[in-house]
C-alpha cells in the first residue's frame, strides 16, 4: 500500500509531462527520421551530380512525386483504420483512361469537369470496396486484392487496343502538369494544399479521429458507439476518389494512356505510406509523413536515373526501405510502450 502515501499528483509533474514529451518526441523522431533520410540522400546525390538540384529536375521530381503523394494520402486514410487498399493502381488506371478520352473528345469541356469525372469514377470503385469490406465482412486485403484485378480487367476491356495520345488533348489539359509558379509546379502546390487539408481533417474533425480510434482498438471503438461501418466505408470511398483524381493527373502528366496505366502502383504506394511512418496495424501515423515517404521514394527513384545508376536498383531499394521501416516501427513502439509503462509504474509506487 505504498501508493496510499502518495499525494495527489501535481499537473505537469515531471513524470507525466516527460512521458508525454517522450511519446511526442518518439513520433516526431519517426517523421523527422524520414526527412533526415531524404535530406541526406539529396545531399549525397547532389554532391555526385550537382544538376540533381537543377530547377527542372526538382520540378520533374516534384511532379512525379505529387501523384504518389496523392495516392499515399488516400491509402493512409484506409491504413489508419486498420485496413488496406490494394486497388488504387487499377482505379488510377481506369480513371486515367476514361478522363483522358473525355479530355480528348469533348474539347470544349472545362477542366474542373474532367477532374470531377475522375473523382466520380474513383468514388464509385472506392464505394464498392467500402461496401464489400464493411458489409461483406471480408478482410480488406482479400477484397482489394480481388478488385485490383477486376478493375484492371474492366480497364483492359474498355481500353482494348486503343490509347489516348497527347496530340488529341486540348493543350490546357497537358499544361496542367507543366505550369509552374516561381519555379514550383502548380501541381505540387495544389497537392501540398490537399494533403495539408487532409491532415487537418484527420486531426481536427471527429470522423477523422474516429478513424484513428477504429484502427487503434476496434473493440473499444465499438463500445464507444463509433459507427464503424460508415467510417470504414468512407475511408475506402475517399481512397478511391483520390485515386480517381490521381488518374486525371497521371493522364495529364504522361499524355499517353493505354490499359497499363498505374499497373502495380499499389506496392509503391503502400511502401510510401509505411516508410512514411503509418503503422500497418492502423491507429497511428500521419498523412504528411506518408507524403514525405512518397517524396522520398520518388526522389530515390529519379536520383538513380540522374546518377545513371541502373534503375534496376529502384525496386529492391523500395522493398528494402519498406522492410526497414516496419522493423524500425516495431522496435520503436515496443520501446515506447516499455518506457512509458516504466514511468507509469515508477509514478505508481
Amino acid at each position: 500500500m505504498t501508493a496510499t502515501l502518495a499525494p495527489p499528483r501535481e499537473p505537469g509533474s515531471p513524470a507525466s509531462a516527460s512521458s508525454r514529451r517522450l511519446a511526442e518526441r518518439v513520433f516526431r523522431v519517426r517523421e523527422f527520421g524520414i526527412v533526415a533520410v531524404l535530406i541526406v540522400f539529396v545531399a549525397i546525390t547532389a554532391a555526385i551530380q550537382p544538376r540533381f538540384l537543377s530547377i527542372t529536375n526538382i520540378q520533374f521530381v516534384l511532379v512525379d512525386a505529387t501523384i504518389f503523394a496523392l495516392l499515399a494520402l488516400g491509402e493512409t486514410i484506409v491504413v489508419i483504420s486498420r485496413n488496406v487498399d490494394l486497388s488504387v493502381g487499377s482505379v488510377l488506371g481506369i480513371s486515367a483512361f476514361l478522363t483522358a478520352q473525355l479530355a480528348s473528345q469533348a474539347h470544349g469541356l472545362p477542366l474542373p469537369l474532367v477532374f470531377l469525372a475522375g473523382l466520380g469514377i474513383g468514388l464509385g470503385f472506392g464505394a464498392i470496396n467500402g461496401l464489400l469490406v464493411s458489409l461483406g465482412r471480408v478482410p480488406s486485403l482479400v477484397v482489394t486484392l480481388a478488385t485490383l484485378y477486376i478493375i484492371r480487367g474492366l480497364d483492359v476491356l474498355i481500353v482494348g487496343g486503343s490509347q489516348v495520345v497527347p496530340s488529341s488533348y486540348y493543350p490546357s489539359f497537358l499544361t496542367i502538369s507543366k505550369a509552374t509558379v516561381g519555379g514550383i509546379p502548380d501541381l505540387a502546390i495544389v497537392v501540398a494544399v490537399v494533403i495539408a487539408a487532409g491532415a487537418y481533417c484527420l486531426r481536427s474533425f471527429r470522423s477523422g479521429r474516429e478513424l484513428y480510434a477504429i484502427g487503434s482498438n476496434p473493440d473499444a471503438a465499438r463500445l464507444a458507439g463509433i459507427p464503424m461501418g460508415r467510417r470504414i466505408f468512407t475511408a475506402f470511398a475517399l481512397s478511391g476518389a483520390i485515386a480517381g483524381v490521381a488518374g486525371v493527373l497521371w493522364a495529364s502528366r504522361y499524355g499517353t494512356v493505354d490499359s497499363t496505366a498505374g499497373a502495380s502502383y499499389e506496392l509503391q504506394v503502400i511502401a510510401a505510406v509505411v516508410v512514411g511512418g503509418v503503422a500497418i496495424f492502423g491507429g497511428s501515423g500521419s498523412v504528411v509523413g506518408a507524403a514525405i515517404g512518397a517524396l522520398l521514394l520518388q526522389t530515390i527513384n529519379s536520383a538513380l536515373y540522374v546518377l545513371g545508376v541502373s534503375p534496376d536498383w529502384d525496386q529492391a531499394i523500395a522493398g528494402f526501405l519498406l522492410l526497414v521501416a516496419i522493423v524500425l516501427d516495431r522496435f520503436i513502439s515496443l520501446r515506447l510502450t516499455v518506457s512509458l509503462r516504466r514511468r507509469s509504474a515508477r509514478r505508481g509506487q
Binding site: 501508493a3 481536427s204 471527429r206 487503434s216 463500445l223 516499455v338 509503462r341
Partner: protein, 571 residues
C-alpha cells in the same frame, strides 16, 4: 480482447438443492428477504425460469426502495433476463432495478453472472429472454451506441482504451468539444479532461497517449470517460480493482456527489467493505440467478457472503492423501517487472497448493511464467530437480509440468478441432509411428481419458465447442493428464462449470494429489480453495502477502489478506 473475461460468466449451474433453511434464519432486514428469495429461487431452480416470482420480488423491491431514494422510479431495470452462450447459461434469471440517487451494489461469486448483466445493460448483449426497462418502459438497447443514447455510462472491468490516442481523446472520443465549423476544440478538450481528473483528485496528463498507462490510470481514465457523459446511470464493474486506497476514497467522494446529483449508480466489487461503505442497496446473484435484493442497513458481510456462496463454509472432507512427498516444483524470487515481484514458493508431491487473491493480483501471470508462456526478469523455476529454461513451454512440459489455463476458450481448447484432437494435442509425439499420427491410437487414447474423466459427449469426432463448459474443462484436464504430469498447474479449474462437474473436478484433483502429483491451484472461489488446498498462498498486487495452512485458513482471513483491508474484515 480475448482476455479472460470476469471469472465465470460462463457458469450455469442450477442447484435447487443446496438452499438451506438456515439461510432464512438470519439478521433483521436480511431475514425474510433472503428467506423469500431462497424459496423463490428453489422453485425457479426446479422450473427453469421461475415465472411466478415477480409478485414476491416486487414486494421485496419496495422494501429495498423504501429505504433510500424512496419512491424514486427505477430509471433502468432488468426483469428476469437470461443469456446463454453456446452450452453455457451465463444468466438464468437476473433482475435488478436502478433508482435515481441510489448506489446499488451487485455482488456475487465469480461466475455468478454479474458481468453478463452489465453487458446486457450496455446493449452489448441482447437478453435471450426477459426485458430491459428504461424509465419503466420496455426498451431494446441497440448496441453500445443505443445504451449511451439512453443515458448509460459504463466502466468496464477491463479498460477499453485507444492506446495510440491521447488520454483526452480517449475520454471524449465521438463527443469531442467543437469549435466553429465542427472542428475539434483541442484546448477545451484538455481543460475539460483536467477538470474531470481534478474531480477524481488525480492528475493524468491529458496530452499523453494512453499506451503504457498503468492499470490504475487506465481505470481512472475510464471513470473520467463515464463522468464526462453526464449519464443518468453509471455502471461500475469492479472500478476499484486496481486503485490505491487514496484513489478509492476519491472515487467514493465522486460517487457520493453523483448520487446527490440524482445519478443512479450500479457498483460491482469483490471488496464487500467497499459495498458497505458506498452503497445503499445490494443485489446478490448466484449461479446466474437473482438471489436477494435488500437495503444494506442491518446486513453484515457474513450475510452477503452466505447469500453469495449459498452455504456456510464447508469443512474440508480430508482426501485420502498421505503426507506430502519430496519437493517437485520450486519457484525462487520470480519477478516480472510491473506484473509480479519476488514470488517464492514450492510444491511437494501429493500436495495441493492454492494461489489465492483478487483477480489481477498476478496469480495467473505467475503460472504463465512458470510454464514458460511469458518470460520473467528475475528468479528461477526448478521442476523435478532441473532448472527450467525461460519462456519455453516445451522445457516445462518435458520437466513434467502441465498447465490447465485460466481461459478455457482462448487458451485451453482449439474450438474448431474435435474432442479427440484436443485431448491428443499435447501428446501427439507419443501417438505417432514413423512420424504419422496413428488414428486408432489417437482415438483409443482420447476415448480412454474421456471415460476416466467421465466426459459426456456424442462422438469423439464432434467439435469440442459442442460440449458444455464442464465437459470442455474435463477435455482440457484430459489433455494434460494424458501426459502423465508430475506437476499440474490448474488455473480457475471450475470456472463457469456446473456443480455436478465441479464436484467431479474437485474429486479428481483430490485423487490426483493422492496419486502423488504436485498440484498448484489458482482459484478465486474461496470455498473451493479451502476445501482442496493443503496450503494457501495469497497474492496481492503482484506479491505473496500471506500463507495459510489448510487448518488456519478461513474465507474471511484470505479475503482480508487479498484486499489488504485486514482491519476492515471480520465485522
Amino acid at each position: 480482447m480475448g482476455h479472460a473475461d470476469e471469472a465465470g460468466d460462463r457458469r450455469a449451474d442450477a442447484r435447487p438443492g443446496d438452499a438451506r433453511p438456515g439461510d432464512a434464519g438470519r439478521q433483521e432486514a436480511g431475514r425474510q428477504e433472503a428467506g423469500r428469495q431462497e424459496a423463490g429461487r428453489q422453485e425457479a431452480g426446479r422450473q427453469e425460469a421461475g415465472r411466478q416470482e415477480p409478485v414476491r420480488r416486487a414486494g421485496s423491491e419496495d422494501g429495498a426502495g423504501s429505504e433510500d431514494g424512496a419512491d424514486s422510479p427505477a430509471v433502468l431495470s432488468l426483469r428476469h433476463v437470461s443469456k446463454s452462450f453456446g452450452a453455457v447459461r451465463a444468466v438464468i434469471d437476473g433482475s435488478i432495478e436502478l433508482r435515481a440517487g441510489e448506489v446499488h451494489a451487485l455482488v456475487g461469486e465469480n461466475g455468478a453472472g454479474k458481468s453478463t448483466m452489465v453487458k446486457i445493460l450496455a446493449g452489448v448483449h441482447q437478453p435471450d429472454s426477459g426485458t430491459v426497462l428504461v424509465n419503466g418502459g420496455p426498451t431494446v438497447l441497440h448496441g453500445p451506441a443505443g445504451a449511451i443514447g439512453a443515458g448509460l455510462a459504463i466502466i468496464y472491468q477491463e479498460p477499453t482504451l485507444f492506446p495510440d490516442l491521447s488520454v483526452a481523446e480517449n475520454i471524449f472520443m465521438g463527443r469531442q468539444p467543437l469549435r466553429r465549423g465542427r472542428r475539434i476544440d483541442g484546448r477545451e478538450m484538455t481543460t475539460e479532461a483536467d477538470a474531470l481528473f481534478a474531480r477524481l483528485g488525480v492528475r493524468i496528463d491529458p496530452g499523453r497517449i494512453a499506451r503504457g498507462l498503468s492499470i490504475a490510470d487506465q481505470q481512472l481514465v475510464e471513470i473520467a470517460k463515464a463522468l464526462s457523459l453526464d449519464a443518468r446511470v453509471i455502471v461500475m464493474d469492479e472500478p476499484t480493482a486496481a486503485l490505491s486506497a487514496v484513489e478509492v476514497a476519491r472515487l467514493f467522494d465522486v460517487i457520493r456527489a453523483l448520487r446527490a446529483g440524482g445519478t443512479a449508480v450500479l457498483f460491482i466489487s469483490h471488496r464487500l467493505e467497499e459495498v458497505f461503505a458506498i452503497c445503499q442497496t445490494v443485489t446478490v446473484m448466484r449461479d446466474g440467478r437473482h438471489v436477494l435484493t435488500s437495503t444494506l442497513t442491518g446486513l453484515t458481510a457474513g450475510d452477503l457472503v452466505r447469500a453469495m456462496v449459498g452455504r456456510d463454509m464447508p469443512e474440508r472432507i480430508p482426501g485420502e492423501r498421505g503426507a506430502p512427498g519430496e519437493v517437485r516444483l520450486t519457484v525462487q524470487r520470480l519477478t516480472r517487472e510491473g506484473v509480479f515481484t519476488d514470488v517464492s514458493f514450492e510444491v511437494r508431491a501429493g500436495e495441493i497448493v492454492a494461489l489465492s487473491g483478487l483477480v489481477g493480483a498476478g496469480r495467473s501471470e505467475v503460472a504463465r511464467a512458470v510454464f514458460g508462456i511469458d518470460r520473467y526478469d528475475a528468479g528461477a523455476v526448478t521442476a523435478g530437480g532441473r532448472k527450467l529454461r525461460k519462456a519455453s513451454p516445451t522445457a516445462a512440459m518435458t520437466a513434467g509440468i502441465g498447465l490447465v489455463p485460466e481461459d478455457r476458450r482462448q487458451q485451453g481448447l482449439v474450438m474448431e478441432m474435435s474432442i479427440q484432437q484436443n485431448v491428443a494435442l499435447a501428446s501427439l509425439s507419443a501417438l505417432r509411428r514413423a512420424g504419422i499420427i496413428r488414428a486408432s491410437a489417437e482415438h483409443s487414447f482420447a476415448a480412454d481419458w474421456a471415460v476416466r474423466l467421465s466426459v459426456k459427449y456424442g462422438r469423439l469426432t464432434d467439435p469440442v465447442s459442442m460440449l458444455s463448459g464442464g465437459n470442455q474443462q474435463k477435455v482440457v484436464l484430459a489433455k494434460w493428464l494424458g501426459r502423465r504430469p508430475s506437476i499440474l498447474i490448474v488455473d480457475e479449474p471450475t470456472r463457469g462449470i456446473d456443480v455436478g462437474t465441479k464436484a467431479d473436478v474437485h474429486n479428481l484433483l483430490d485423487r490426483l494429489a493422492g496419486e502423488g502429483i504436485a498440484i498448484l491451484m489458482i482459484s478465486s472461489e474461496l470455498p473451493e480453495v479451502l476445501r482442496l488446498a493443503d496450503r494457501i498462498l495469497v497474492m496481492r498486487e503482484g506479491r505473496l502477502v500471506a500463507e495459510f495452512t489448510q487448518a488456519d485458513g478461513s474465507e474471511e482471513g484470505i479475503m482480508a489478506a487479498a484486499t489488504g483491508q485486514l482491519e476492515a474484515e471480520a465485522r
